[in-house]
């Protein structure tokens, strides 16, 4: 196996075109395990961990761009995620252990494609766009569409950025895992909620992890909650709607009865926010 350390995006996409059977390595927290377990046998490993242009978080007008090579620690420590975007910070902080968070990257989390990937549900709520680069040019795809397999990363592509509009609402994330650290999510829920003057739901996004083959938006729940006041009845009804959706999706799975019951706790907690939009003041 050949290992190349790329210095620029340009160099990497050329290498990707050159080696048909290659694998990109950033933090290596998933790839290394796959190699050790003999799950993959790439001809070449292309190391992107020292490419500066793939790192960092940038505010561009109303938009926020996260470089695909940004680590979970870097996201969790960036003050841009202190206020209304706290849900993304929380999701990144609950991944693995400090060592894994120092190595693992948000781009890797997305392209590795685990249904339990913790950074994805909050990014789904933010209606993120993924930006891929290759010799053929730039390809933009909505994260939501990307997850539906057809638009997945191609062999010669590099995920360079994740981009989303800085929202008015408040982002929240709740994870259920067996233990408090170093544990893969059994399931997770992210919500992005904006309330109007009368405390009614002006805008809402709900996304789940490990409730299907990939993380996904829970559109029926969103539709139901839009325009309501988040009281006991509406929240209970939202839980019912989500449980019914799960029933269809996970039919026959032995984990369904447990997940159906436990999701109630997660969704309730995720919706339990009376705090009005507190969008970060951008100077």
């Amino acid at each position: 196996m050949i290992v190349h350390r790329g210095k620029t995006i340009e160099e990497v996409i050329e290498l990707l075109a050159k080696y048909k059977d290659s694998k990109i390595i950033a933090g290596g927290t998933d790839v290394i395990l796959d190699i050790k377990d003999n799950k993959i046998f790439p001809e070449a490993l292309i190391d992107i961990s020292s490419i500066e242009e793939l790192k960092g978080i940038e505010l561009k007008g109303d938009f926020i761009e996260i470089g695909a090579g940004t680590t979970f620690t870097e996201i969790a420590e960036d003050e841009i995620f202190e206020k209304n975007l706290h849900g993304l910070k929380k999701a990144c902080k609950l991944i693995g252990s400090p060592q894994i968070r120092n190595r693992g990257t948000v781009g890797g989390n997305i392209v590795n494609g685990s249904p339990a990937a913790d950074s994805i549900p909050p990014l789904l709520c933010l209606e993120s766009t993924l930006i891929f680069e290759s010799l053929e040019g730039i390809r933009k795809v909505k994260l939501e569409d990307y997850l539906k397999s057809k638009y997945r990363i191609k062999e010669h592509e590099l995920l360079t950025k994740i981009r989303f509009k800085n929202p008015e609402g408040l982002l929240n994330f709740i994870k259920l895992a067996i233990r408090k650290a170093l544990a893969i999510s059994r399931m997770s829920i992210a919500t992005l909620i904006e309330l109007d003057e009368e405390e009614k739901v002006k805008d809402i996004k709900v996304a789940s992890g490990s409730l299907g083959r990939y993380p996904m938006r829970e559109l029926e729940v969103e539709e139901f909650l839009l325009g309501t006041i988040l009281g006991e009845y509406t929240v209970d009804e939202a839980v019912n709607i989500l449980q019914n959706a799960m029933e269809k999706r996970l039919k026959g799975r032995p984990t369904l009865p447990y997940k159906k019951r436990a999701v109630k706790s997660l969704l309730k907690e995720a919706l339990n926010q009376r705090i009005r939009s507190s969008r970060r003041v951008i100077s």
Binding site: L176, R179, A181, A262
Partner: protein
């Protein structure tokens, strides 16, 4: 929706091999050329703190700073056998052997000192702080170092052996007194059960451990914390997931043990009631510290949500299934 419950677990545990099985520990003590004392013992340090305890017992018996004691352990060519580091027996059994060997060694020192100091008898000779002297006429003194230098080629050493008293049980009735001594403990746990997710969170623990005599309270607390953490994994997380004879959770990413974040600060209580046959009264606690934790946690779960879990681990899924069955009035054993 969370419910709080409290439970206690009690245990008593016979340390040593027991049941009539020969349980022998030996140690050897020698005056080294530089005047320091070497203690040769087969007791193995496996992280439980045996070496520290052995130093303390040797130092206390010899009335000598541990700086002047060398421990030579874990090499069968150099030392007598002290049995296994198992059955929570090293403090009590090997501790006794070291104490006896040190006492025999001090008798040897007095005899050699009697000769060197040209005395009639060993009566009134004290061994303290690396010196042997006549208590009522302290000018009659010789240090370990001087003694060592004068013994050209003659080694001053002594051995000690401790044979534990164990009685075989009646094979017909199973009755008898198979162990001595016993160690006792009690653990009280307060916890919270999330009745939707089945997650258990330990809130508070008070753990009382009888030790005979605490030779090293810090090490005992370490054992208590460790026993609790190990039991916490045993009760809530650790699952081999055996399917048709194959272990499915064959790595630590699947076979979960608690992390530091799952552990809580324990309120540990050390109970001292010296055991007359033990070295300075101290008994073993290595295994006992794990035993009462599982019943305490399971009793607290029962107190919180009214279900009895009879197979470990008490995973969130198992707990939820048990809670749902109990609501429907089904009597199902969960396990």
């Amino acid at each position: 929706m969370k419910r709080i419950g409290r439970g206690i677990g009690l245990s008593f545990y016979g340390t040593g091999y027991g049941n009539g099985f020969p349980d022998v520990s030996r140690a050897k003590v020698r005056l080294l050329k530089d005047g320091n004392v070497g203690i040769y013992v087969g007791g193995t340090e496996v992280g439980q703190g045996a070496r520290t305890i052995f130093y303390q017992i040797g130092s206390e018996t010899l009335k000598l700073s541990s700086d002047n004691i060398s421990f030579i352990t874990e090499d069968t060519s150099l030392m007598p056998d002290s049995g296994t580091a198992a059955a929570s027996r090293q403090t009590y059994n090997t501790g006794n052997a070291i104490k006896i060997a040190c006492e025999n060694f001090m008798d040897r020192l007095r005899e050699v000192a009697k000769r060197e100091l040209k005395l009639n008898s060993t009566q009134g000779l004290k061994v303290n702080n690396g010196k042997i002297y006549l208590e009522f006429f302290p000018r009659k003194v010789i240090s370990f170092k001087e003694l060592a230098q004068k013994q050209k080629g003659n080694v001053i050493e002594a051995e000690g052996e401790f044979v534990a008293q164990t009685v075989e049980m009646d094979s017909e009735t199973g009755q008898g007194a198979p162990y001595w001594p016993y160690t006792f403990n009690a653990c009280g746990v307060e916890l919270e059960v999330d009745v939707l997710t089945g997650k258990v969170e330990i809130l508070k623990t008070r753990f009382a451990q009888d030790v005979g005599r605490a030779i090293n309270p810090h090490l005992i607390e370490g054992q208590m914390d460790g026993g609790f953490a190990m039991a916490l994994g045993y009760v809530l997380f650790e699952d081999l997931n055996i399917n048709e004879g194959r272990i499915k959770n064959q790595k630590f990413s699947k076979y979960l043990i608690p992390t530091a974040m799952d552990m809580i600060d324990l309120e540990n209580v050390i109970v001292e009631d010296p055991e007359s046959t033990a070295p300075f009264g101290a008994k073993g606690v290595g295994e006992p510290v794990m035993i009462p934790i599982a019943p305490a946690i399971l009793n607290a779960i029962y107190d919180a949500v009214g279900v009895r879990i009879t197979e470990l681990p008490a995973t969130p899924e198992k707990l939820i299934e048990a809670i749902e069955d109990s609501k429907e009035g089904r009597v199902v054993k969960h396990g």
